[in-house]
Amino acid sequence: MNTSAVDLATTFGPVGLSTPFIAASGCFAYGEQFAAFTDLSLLGGISTKGISPLPRYGNPVPRICETASGMLNSIGLENVGLEVFLSEKLPFLREQGLSVWVNFFGTDFETYIECARGLNRGQGIDVLEMNISCPNIKKGGIEFGTVPEVAHRLTKACVEVSEIPIVVKLSPNAGDIVGMAQAVKEAGAMGVSLINTITGMAIDVHTQMPRIATTYGGLSGPAIKPIALRMVHQVARALPGFPICGMGGISNGEDALEFLLAGAHCLQVGTACFAEPGAIVRITDELRNLLHRVGFSTPSEAVGKLKTRPQEPAWSA
């Protein structure tokens, strides 16, 4: 099949991407391990493990368990911390010829701002992806991701100290996803990433205990794709033109195109990378072929091109 007519290069706000695919935060560490299994230059970008001002050692075990078409995790935002990231991890990432997205978080306003400011010292970062939605943080964090007014203030405070564009990663656990997107947009966010994991749990009936140590964890994988698509679609419809990075269970080219049609401008692939280190490269090829087959010559041509179904007349009894 001649698919050379399809050009996968695209843009996300001011950021140029060689493909629409970014490796999702928490599923690609800092990229090093994948270099043994896959050609990193074939990725559009990498979003790092979430960085906090100080290192975090994570939660007790068990931290993960598999569920129907998905998995629960409660890693506990383990990361090397801002300084080690800047000195030991960032140099590797910036040499890979891809877009560098640094996911970050704090535990309160001050630490969020400190982290955003600190990351601005780093060279070669294209996007700061602000995580306001991780379910695995105990202290107060839940409001950042669920109350639009709080998210607005937090985003504004971080945007003010950052030269690097800030993309806010939204929580599907928010009641009003459109209200949240609107709030961070007005606060100066360049775009939004959606969705993060959905809070869930699993129980071992033999031990009658939760399957993960923290009882609740974040559900990811194909199981959450319909919810993610719905949220991308709602935000895209409400805020036309506002950059959306869509994610949630993407595991093949069709999934990717569904997200583009729903209104995502670029995409992240996470859980699929665990089982298959080369997943993104495969999905990229699949999307290229699929775009050609259905008649798009670039990914951006497909963005938001969802058609409405013809309506049946409404019958009343």
């Binding site: 391990q33 050692y57 665990f274 089982a275 298959e276």
Partner: protein
């Protein structure tokens, strides 16, 4: 360098050559890889992530110690049906395609001259110790290793004929007394460790099996000052140090290390178990 383990690992496709049921839910899957791989250089304790053509459910591969590795294209795993993943693998048929990542992790340290290795296996913890016994018996001599092997019943004690063929001494234990000593495998092990101490014989312990057994072996090793290596098991999504799901509590600078990339073999002194 944070990431050294698994650098010899590659991702490859393999076909099931043979599925050998061993009874009581145990099975050996023999694979033929479609390309050259690093499995021939496997160190006992190193593992493979194995996934069939499972679509979107089951999502993640399953981790298995490499059981045997004949050459760079042929290796096998030994498993037991526990959950959905092992159930599917136990039903695999010849020709079935699997995706594999191997060899991963850090295996047992090499044997030291003049030190007898006491290999302690519980149930499905047999594979890495079976491989270790075979290697050491061939390289150093059958007296360099002794195997302590425990299970619930006689059906759990597999491949005893192999140890016999290699001339390796076995100490067997079953909980129901149907074969060997009645009770846990730690019973004959304790006697042997005491005997070694009395004779001034240098021994070390290498163990793989259920957590309860590993805790007992760890305590025994620490109490008697016997070097002890434990091959651990944790749920893993990736197997190569990315998901951070398989944390192992350790003493030291950081509270956790990772079963997949720092282990699965850990020094008993390092493991932080109460």
């Amino acid at each position: 360098m944070a990431y050294e383990a698994g650098v010899s690992a590659t991702a490859f496709t393999a076909h099931v050559e043979r599925n050998r049921p061993l009874g009581a839910g145990y099975f050996v899957l023999e694979f033929a890889a479609t390309c050259e791989t690093g499995v021939a250089d496997v160190v006992p304790g190193q593992f493979a992530m194995v996934r069939g053509d499972w679509g979107r459910d089951l999502l993640n591969p399953r981790a298995f110690s490499v059981f045997e590795a004949a050459d760079s294209r042929h290796f096998s795993i030994l498993g037991k049906v526990f959950g959905r993943g092992t159930k599917r693998l136990a039903a695999a048929v010849p020709g079935e395609k699997m995706t594999i990542l191997a060899p991963l992790g850090v295996g047992f340290r090499p044997a030291r001259a003049g030190v007898t290795q006491l290999l302690v296996a519980g149930g499905v913890g047999l594979p890495p110790l079976h491989l270790q016994a075979k290697r050491n018996a061939a390289a150093v001599g059958p007296n360099a290793v002794e195997v302590f092997y425990g299970g619930r019943t006689r059906d759990d004690l597999l491949l005893l004929e192999d140890f016999e063929a290699w001339g390796v001494k076995t100490h067997l234990a079953t909980e129901d007394g149907s074969l060997g000593t009645r009770g846990y495998v730690t019973k004959p092990l304790v006697s042997r460790v005491r005997e070694a101490a009395q004779r001034g014989e240098s021994v070390e312990l290498l163990a793989c099996g259920p957590t309860g057994m590993l805790q007992a072996v760890r305590k025994l090793g620490l109490d008697h000052g016997v070097p002890t290596q434990l091959c651990l098991e944790e749920h893993m999504a990736c197997g190569f140090g990315v998901c951070l799901g398989c944390a192992v509590p350790v003493y030291g600078e950081k509270p956790y290390r990772y079963c997949c990339s720092d282990g699965p073999v850990f020094d008993a002194q390092e493991v932080r178990w109460s």
